[in-house]
């Protein structure tokens, strides 16, 4: 298949719905569903009926502003979120008014401004289709240009050219480590081996992070497209998506996407009538945070206990079943199609010098606009929290923002003006992580927060290596003693020493980064910690 054929197909799909002028989009991502989006969708669909062929109601993916869900957008066909009339906190009882507004004046009492910074300040690349297309519809995806990157790569580019574009883009792994994606791909491509694998890490385990889930639920084909392009570039014909079992909706939509892509000839034997074949299988996680670690994840796919193994050898050399394996996370794969479509140089033009492109963040905690946002790398934390996030509720003061989940740390108000990218966060003693941002107000006790994360690491430690298994336990005990006001200066010194040992000697990333929340607390909130010590 050639790009023109696909373009023709897309045009045909659009023509099928040419009569439809207006759309009512109901957010059907997990968050809005939990707020009652399904009855809203049912009520709207009932009233709309056939919409005289001019209007239809459809369920779409995440629109981002989860705190205002269920969200409904009324827009001209093909208009994006910013140009739509957005309604918040919708109930089934509002359905008649909303349908009335499709051809008339907006319902002001439900109105949610799309001009507010939350929407206006975002730049959507990964999330460009989220909230616009029906995630279960193959046609919807193709109509907005889906699979054109894949067809372009397969028909017009050599694998080396694909590698070059990805390298040029400067894309870095969105799972947290920030390893250059192009370099990773090239390494796997160079490693000899008849059988290679592509793995999509969708084991989004950081508490407070739901970026990957939203992408899987809103735009699943994009992940398949990214994986296939990767497979083509490195010479793999088999892929696995390792998804958390806690995300049933994401799994369901991914399954539908795989089935439909296969049915349309865009997955499986001879993808899009080319010589390239690619199979994708879903593997369910089973509630083990450590499986986000590459080697543990592969062990889990192999049906074993998800315990990491020493590296080297790296997965690129000896990964799944000993074969060269490429592992990237959901957001990384979601960036691939736009990069191939628009060129690596286009992508490299966005973001900061060393961190290119955009980053999706999940805003949660004590902040007005909780939800999902996508901003260019380098956007300041202050912008994210005060503008996009809408500030702190209940008139309280900002105290800290936690990034990077259990591997990250807390950033105090003094550093809010820093632009967010991989390296700046590292200098602050935290990390990008997968993109969770938990905002805390002045009521938060930082020792308690550090203890919470240590408890997390302790219960998620796989138990293989001693520093992580026993060290996190001891650190948790010490934090507990300090939080209760029974700790001494000697306890604090011991805690700091354990942080160093666990960081330096643990086998995998979980243990190596487990002390980070404690270290950042000691760095920025030492006085608060010391005030809790006995005799201080």
């Amino acid at each position: 298949m050639h790009p023109e054929d696909l373009a023709e197909k897309a045009a045909q799909f659009r023509a099928e719905e040419a009569a439809i002028k207006r759309e009512v989009r109901v957010c059907m991502a997990a968050s809005c569903q939990s707020s009652g989006a399904q009855p809203v969708l049912t009520a709207l669909t009932e009233i709309c009926g056939d919409g005289k062929g001019m209007c239809h109601v459809k369920g779409v993916g995440c629109m981002g502003l989860c705190s205002a869900g269920p969200l409904v957008a009324v827009a001209d066909k093909d208009c994006d979120l910013a140009d739509s009339v957005l309604y918040r906190d919708v109930t089934p009882a509002d359905a008649p008014d909303i349908m009335q507004s499709v051809c008339g004046a907006p319902v002001e009492r439900l109105r949610c401004s799309t001009e507010q910074p939350f929407f206006a300040r975002q730049q959507r690349i990964v999330l460009e289709n989220c909230g616009l297309i029906d995630p279960d519809s193959f046609k919807d995806y193709v109509a907005v240009g889906g699979y054109s990157a894949l067809v372009k790569a397969l028909s017009e580019m050599t694998s080396t050219e694909v590698l070059r574009e990805v390298t040029t883009s400067g894309l870095r792994g969105r799972g947290g480590g920030g390893y250059p994606t192009g370099l990773k791909w090239s390494t796997v491509a160079k490693t000899p081996g008849a059988q290679k694998y592509v793995i999509c890490n969708a084991d989004e385990g950081d508490p407070g992070a739901f970026m990957d889930r939203a992408v899987l639920e809103s735009d699943p084909h994009r992940i398949l497209e990214g994986m296939m392009i990767a497979g083509y570039a490195i010479g793999a014909n088999k892929g696995y998506v390792y998804v958390r079992a806690e995300y049933p909706l994401a799994v369901e939509r991914l399954q539908t996407a795989i089935r439909k892509a296969k049915g349309a000839g865009f997955l499986g034997h001879r993808v899009a009538d080319t010589q390239f074949s690619f199979e994708v299988e879903i593997r369910l996680g089973a509630g083990a945070f450590v499986c986000g670690e590459e080697t543990a994840l592969m062990a889990s796919i192999e049906g074993l206990r998800g315990q990491p193994r020493p590296r080297p050898p790296y997965p690129a050399e000896a990964g799944l079943w000993g074969c060269p394996t490429l592992i990237n996370n959901v957001e990384t794969f979601a960036n691939i199609a736009p990069i191939i479509r628009n060129g690596g140089a286009w992508f490299a033009g966005i973001g900061t010098e060393k961190s290119k492109g955009t980053k999706v963040f999940a805003l949660a905690g004590k902040i007005n606009n909780t939800g999902l946002i996508e901003v260019p790398m380098g956007t300041s934390l202050r912008d994210i929290i005060e503008q996009i996030g809408g500030g702190i509720p209940d008139g309280r003061a900002f105290k800290a923002v936690q990034t990077g989940g259990p591997s990250g740390g807390c950033i105090p108000a003094a550093h809010l003006d820093i632009g967010v990218d991989y390296d700046s966060l590292k200098t602050l003693g935290t990390m990008m992580g997968s993109g969770g941002m938990i905002v805390m107000d002045d009521s938060a006790c930082m020792v308690d927060v550090a203890r919470y994360f240590m408890e997390f690491c302790m219960t998620e430690s796989c138990g293989k290596c001693i520093p992580c298994r026993a060290g996190t336990q001891q650190m948790h005990g010490l934090l507990d003693t300090i939080a209760k006001g029974e700790g001494t200066r000697a306890d604090l010194a011991l805690l700091a020493h354990l942080c160093e040992v666990v960081q330096a000697t643990s086998l995998c990333g979980l243990g190596q980064s487990a002390p980070n929340p404690v270290l950042s607390t000691l760095r920025y909130f030492r006085e608060e910690v010391e005030a809790k010590l006995v005799g201080e």
């Binding site: 939990s34 508490p207 739901f210 079992a245 369910l284 089973a286 509630g287 998800g306 949660a364 905690g365």
Partner: protein, 164 residues
């Protein structure tokens, strides 16, 4: 040339074993299908008992201790039957900040059960999850598969009381 291990008969007439067998067949009875198979046993029967673990071990030709090691490594697998209703309290960071602890304490006060326990009348099991991904709705709870957000102890207890 080694003969492939003959497949054991299903432990009982229960039709649900067909689902389990189907999963194993789909993966060619390969040892690496262990986790997928355990998922399908749990989906069919609600939990993994000794009969099921032995059957899976024999079918996939995986040592018993390995099966048990895997089943106890992953927190999703339950080795005990759950109550008729399950209430999963999210303890992700956002929910923690917004008071998940208070919800658990409320459940403990009302039903006298801790995380992982089931009430004596087998009506309700209480579990915790590491982030159900509904951080925007914190604190969130999953009751029988449905997510409820922005809960208080009172509104959660009311919800749980309303279950049959």
């Amino acid at each position: 040339m080694q003969q492939p291990q003959p497949k054991p008969p299903s432990p009982s007439e229960d039709k649900r074993w067909k689902l389990v067998n189907a999963t194993m067949r789909r993966h060619g009875y390969a040892a690496h299908a262990l986790i997928e198979t355990l998922h399908s046993v749990q989906e069919a029967f609600g939990f993994l008992d000794e009969i099921a673990l032995r059957f899976v071990a024999e079918s996939l030709d995986v040592p018993l201790s390995k099966v048990y090691g895997v089943a106890t490594f992953y927190h999703i697998f339950m080795l005990k039957p759950k109550g008729r209703h399950t209430c999963v309290v999210c303890t992700g960071t956002a929910c923690y900040i917004k008071g998940a602890d208070a919800l658990l304490a409320g459940i403990h006060t009302r039903y006298d059960i801790n995380t992982g326990d089931t009430t004596a009348d087998a009506r309700l099991s209480v579990l915790t999850a590491r982030c159900v991904g509904a951080c925007g709705l914190a604190p969130a709870v999953v009751v029988d598969g449905d997510v409820f957000g922005k809960l208080t102890t009172d509104s959660l207890i009311t919800k749980l009381e309303a279950l049959d």
